[in-house]
Amino acid sequence: MNDMKTFDIEKVRADFPIFAREVHGRPLIYLDSGASAQKPTVVLDAVQKAYAETYANVHRGVHYLSQTSTELYEASRETIRAHMNAASIDEVIFTKNATESINLVAYSYGAANLKEGDEIILSTLEHHSNIVPWQLIAEKTGAVVKAVPIDEHGEFMLDAYLEMLGPRTKIVAVTHISNAIGTIVPVREVIDAAHDAGAVVLIDGSQAVPHMKIDMQALGADFYVFTGHKVFGPTGIGVLYGKAALLDKMPPFLGGGDMINRVTFEKTTFAKGHSKFEAGTPPIVQAIGLGTAIDYVNAIGFDKIAAHEQMLLAYATEQLSQINSLRIIGQAKHKAAIISFTLDDVHPHDIGTIVDRAGVAIRVGHHCAQPLMDHFDVAATARASFALYNNRADVDALVASIRDVQEIFG
């Protein structure tokens, strides 16, 4: 099972058609999976087939294509339920991305349960998508948003968090893994403590799901969100997991077709289960593609993926540390394969432009995590993020291209 010999990186790379292409005449070195991941051929084939052979709208039809399309769509929900070990398919809601998933909880659960003076606890590690929805809902309800501090290594400060918890804490929303600096948050402890304080917890798993197996029943989070495009699936699809007991009591968010029971102008009643939160025609083909992507990673196995990525993280950290004037931002003990760095005197945008000319795709900027940037007192960083299809040669190419930067900036 855990035999690394059977993780054949060349075979994995061959599953991703984009690696056949060149950029600026050089082989593509893709180190931007933290922003969005590339797609394996099986996912593209599933998408193509769903449109070309079995396409129709779901749920509302008795004809053959509609039935087939519905079965494929719902099979994908079951794939995701099983993958997350959710207790029921009614706990798995398809959205358009992680951002919508979080907004759904903020608008529905938040607006219904928050009062003046209630507290929402986030952390300094959060992506804007797990900050702004809470600020918007806080403004509407009079609740207050607080942020758990992080230390100089980028570690989530558990002690400070425990002290912040109190009777006013109603919602805790923290990331599982920081997209900007890779910190893995001890979400199990976060959840348990929040529950002891009587708060519900949303975990933003956008960066976790591509890298580790998650288990809703073991974790105990009330809500867990992720986004399809980062886990080798299509764009336009996200997932919200929510405990049935909470979802059942929540008011609907988006209104429209498919989420109703009976509509009259006098009174409308709503569907039960996941349907209540899936208004309008869902991202049918995107859900099918996402199910295929989840099957793909599971066939490889997360133990192997994690081992491979940790190897790359260690190698890249070691290689980058040897570059004078390079500073790695975020050195948490437990990290995913994401490395943010700065170079003395060279702005990240200049780094990005120069390494791109060598075919190296990294992300430069604030990574939608400005409070985190403020914490480290930088406006932006350069970030290399790895996925299962990266190899040591990618790290070497990155290092070589940073030497180019140094050469230009003398």
């Binding site: 005197d345 702005h347 990240p348 945008h349 432009t353 000319r357 932006a380 050469e407």
Partner: protein, 151 residues
């Protein structure tokens, strides 16, 4: 290494970015504006002293940014100083077209050559905003706006 990178990061540009001219906050500035690029978080504050007939008596800036945005801000302050508002805006427009690659016959009079060193940006569409951040802030400062953003 690549020619277009060499052209983008010319000596003059690196020099301006490392030693920006007019990097200060003049006390007698009577127009100022704040520029912000939400893509990278870069900020620039520009300060102008506008005299009679729209004459720009002093131009300066402070801020953080990449080599391109710093060099562009630095060179712009040098170029617009002593010009009228109308002259400056004509240069800005021409410059905008130059770096977007929309105009191959860029002509800014005596300043043409100096600004041409930034022409390399046109090969890098994602960097056009860096090159134009200061110019947008300067326009806003002249118009009296307080904050501009490149988006």
């Amino acid at each position: 290494m690549f020619d277009d990178l060499r052209e983008l990061y010319q000596e003059v540009i690196l020099d301006h970015s490392k030693h920006p001219r007019n990097f200060r906050h003049p006390e007698d500035a009577n127009h100022e504006a704040h520029g912000y690029n939400p893509l990278c978080g870069d900020t620039v504050n520009v300060y102008l002293k506008m005299g009679h007939n729209g004459l720009i008596e002093d131009a300066a800036f402070e801020g953080k940014g990449c080599a391109i945005s710093l060099a562009s801000a630095s060179m712009m302050t040098e170029i617009i100083k002593g010009k009228t508002e109308t002259q400056a805006k004509t240069i800005f427009d021409g410059f905008q077209k130059l770096v977007k690659g929309e105009d191959d016959n860029f002509d800014a009079g005596e300043d043409t050559e100096r600004l041409m060193v930034l022409a390399g940006v046109k090969q890098f569409p994602m960097r056009v905003k860096c090159a134009t951040l200061a110019r947008h802030a300067m326009s806003s400062a002249m118009d009296g706006a307080e904050e501009t953003s490149t988006e």
